[in-house]
Amino acid sequence: MSITRWSDLRRFTQARVGIGRTGNAVPTAAHLDFQEAHAAARDAVWSVLDAEALRAELGPVPVLHSEATERKTYLLRPDLGRRLREADRASLPRTGGTVIVIADGLCASGVQSQSVAMVRALDADWPVVIVQQARVAIGDDIGEAMGAEAVVVLIGERPGLSAQDSMGIYLTWQPRRGRTDAERNCISNIRPGGISTADAAAKVHWLLRGARALGATGVALKDDMTSAPLLE
């Protein structure tokens, strides 16, 4: 049945379509909905990763820390969030292979709720580490210290108004300090209502196969996987 009412557009997207209008502004209820969502997002930025809860699911994996000592420093000094604390660097085993890094990023609650399911969906025998107050590039330090061939960083994405539980995955071939973002591949918006952990896992494996063949990740590795991947 075709639709004729503006508000019916909402059935196609979670975007704030068909919210009405008073003068040139949004009506009061929609305005306050927005303010409430912004408040939730602000609070999510300051959420803290519960590493012990993750270890209860994943086993006794290492818990590491960046050089950013607390949240405000983390927000103002991304350079510190990209670097692994020196003591942690020395403590890591050289495993080689592919390494999974679970990092809080800008929203610990996003990675808290989804990283375990993601690790299980990847269904691979890869070592896992957890790292606090971390940015994406900390995977380079960790991967380098562990002698990894590739690093898969699961990281909390900056919370939006509609989602305070979104996780991203960054894939870097031959990680080492100094890699640029153009040398990574990214899968974002992994969450309920976004990309599923199963689809994300299929894409990680697909990208890793491509990276191995090409010897690189990043813009050189085109993401031209068809939308219905055939699993091996």
Binding site: F12, Q14, V26, R158, D181, N189, S227
Partner: protein, 456 residues
């Protein structure tokens, strides 16, 4: 060459132009992060005084990043037009501020190719917000593809119908919502959730079908990486505009995976499609203060000067649209509403002065100390300054990029508050479709815009 200025018995010394520019910059977190900000208010104003006394001619003799080390410096210096510079060649930076504030609008276009981005950045550093607005208001830049953008009295809007999974019907629903609220004359431009070529092709095809079905005099764009756009064109996709994020140093562009030559190749490929009806301005660039520091490619230069250099890159091509994503890069570069507001007005001023069709993504992220009140203030200021276009996002909430930009409603507000209209071809289309220049009121969607026509 070093510079010095004494205030209250203390002499402040600045080793080179790069340091002078950085110390003279109004405070922002990114310059503190880079370690180049003034360490006191007195040092900052000393630098501003020394900068004000500096002859503009000096910028032709000292580069902030060496010519040999950076292709953006080479581009800027090699394309400088001495004849266009002549009318202001005798001025200092301070004298140039006075000159700009007193200038007739007709005097500004001829100057553009004589100005380096660093000159524009320098003068902006000693300007107040009202100065940035007053001078930008005098700059007029008009570009064309399927409509005319930037004509006097107009304010255009990029319709940004993003969806977290690029769901085609979701994108179409947001597009329809925006059209009914008078948005979309700058471009219907979607940020894809991934750079997957199949998804990009799907979005390009769908947006082109929506545009054709409603016969909208506008252009569409999928804001994928330039190499993906080239691939899409190879596969025969309907590409109107080629998008790319760019920055003001060779290193930051490398971090984006682009070179000046690659941008030229993409522009040539889009031009060869000849899809424009009124003009062939086929490029769309985004920039933002802090991207170079983020890529560790800033060479100790302050972020606002590097941003102006990005406009030097943009104007080497013929862009239809250029916008700063001012509050998007994050609080480590622009910490709060005050810093975002000033930066947005600086970016608009520098871009316009250098001759670009400058829009601004008036926005903030949830880890910045900013809110809707700050955005309303920046929106109103930019609308007074004559900003070419702003973004339109359903309810100001981008559900894919997880940040807040201006809503379709905000666009209506700004146009109404200042008596602005959409691009004329688009305004006429809004009338034809029974929407009207201030958008559709009420719940019933007109039959001419029936959702069923675009598969909803």
């Amino acid at each position: 060459m070093s510079f010095r200025h004494a205030i209250g018995g203390t002499t402040y010394v600045f080793d080179d132009l790069r340091m002078l520019m950085a110390r003279a910059t109004p405070f922002r977190s990114g310059d503190a992060l880079a370690g180049v900000a003034a360490t006191s208010a007195a040092e900052r104003v000393a630098a501003q005084r020394a900068l004000a006394d500096l002859p503009l001619q000096h910028f032709l003799n000292e580069a902030v990043i060496p010519y040999e080390a950076d292709d953006v410096t080479r581009l800027i210096q090699d394309s400088h037009d001495v004849a266009a510079f002549a009318p202001i060649a005798h001025l200092t930076v301070g004298g140039f501020r006075d000159w700009l504030l007193a200038a007739e609008p007709e005097a500004l276009p001829g100057l553009r190719r004589g100005l380096t981005p660093e000159m524009a950045a320098a003068v902006s550093k000693i300007m107040r917000i009202s100065d940035l607005i007053a001078v930008a208001q005098k700059c007029r830049v008009v570009t064309r593809f399927r409509n005319s953008i930037g004509l006097p009295g107009t304010l255009s809007i990029r319709l940004q119908p993003n969806h977290p999974t690029d769901d085609l019907r979701g994108v179409a629903a947001s597009t329809l919502d925006g059209l009914l609220l008078g948005a979309g004359d700058a471009v219907i431009g979607v940020n894809p959730a991934t750079d997957n070529i199949e998804q990009v092709l799907g979005l390009l095809t769908m947006l082109d079908e929506v545009r054709s079905r409603f016969d909208i005099p506008t252009q569409s764009c999928v804001l994928c990486h330039v190499t993906t756009a080239l691939l899409a064109m190879e596969r025969g996709a309907p590409v109107d505009l080629v998008f790319q994020s760019i920055g003001g140093t060779q290193g930051v562009n490398e971090s984006f995976g682009v070179t000046l030559g690659l941008l030229r190749e993409a522009e040539d490929a889009a031009l060869s499609l000849k899809r424009g009806t009124l003009g062939q301005d086929v490029m769309y660039f985004e920039t933002g203060q802090g991207s170079a520091l983020s890529a560790e490619a800033h060479h100790g230069v302050d972020q606002q000067t590097i941003e102006a250099r990005a406009y030097g890159v943009a104007r080497a091509y013929a862009p239809l649209l250029v916008n700063s994503v001012v509050g998007f890069i994050g609080p480590e570069y622009l910490f709060d509403g005050k810093q975002i507001i000033r930066a947005g007005l600086e970016d608009h001023f520098c871009g316009k002065l250098l001759g670009l069709p400058m829009g601004v993504d008036i926005c903030y992220t949830n880890h910045a100390e900013a809110d809707q009140d700050d955005m309303d203030t920046l929106l109103t200021s930019l609308a007074v300054a004559g900003v070419t276009y702003i973004m339109g996002v359903p309810g100001a909430d981008d559900v894919m990029l997880a940040y807040q930009s201006t809503s379709f409603h905000d666009g209506l507000y700004a146009r109404a508050a200042l008596g602005k209209t959409p691009a004329p071809e688009f305004a006429a289309w809004l009338e034809r479709m029974g929407i009207g220049p201030q958008g559709k009121l009420g719940e019933a969607i007109p039959a001419s815009m029936a959702p069923a026509l675009i598969g909803l």
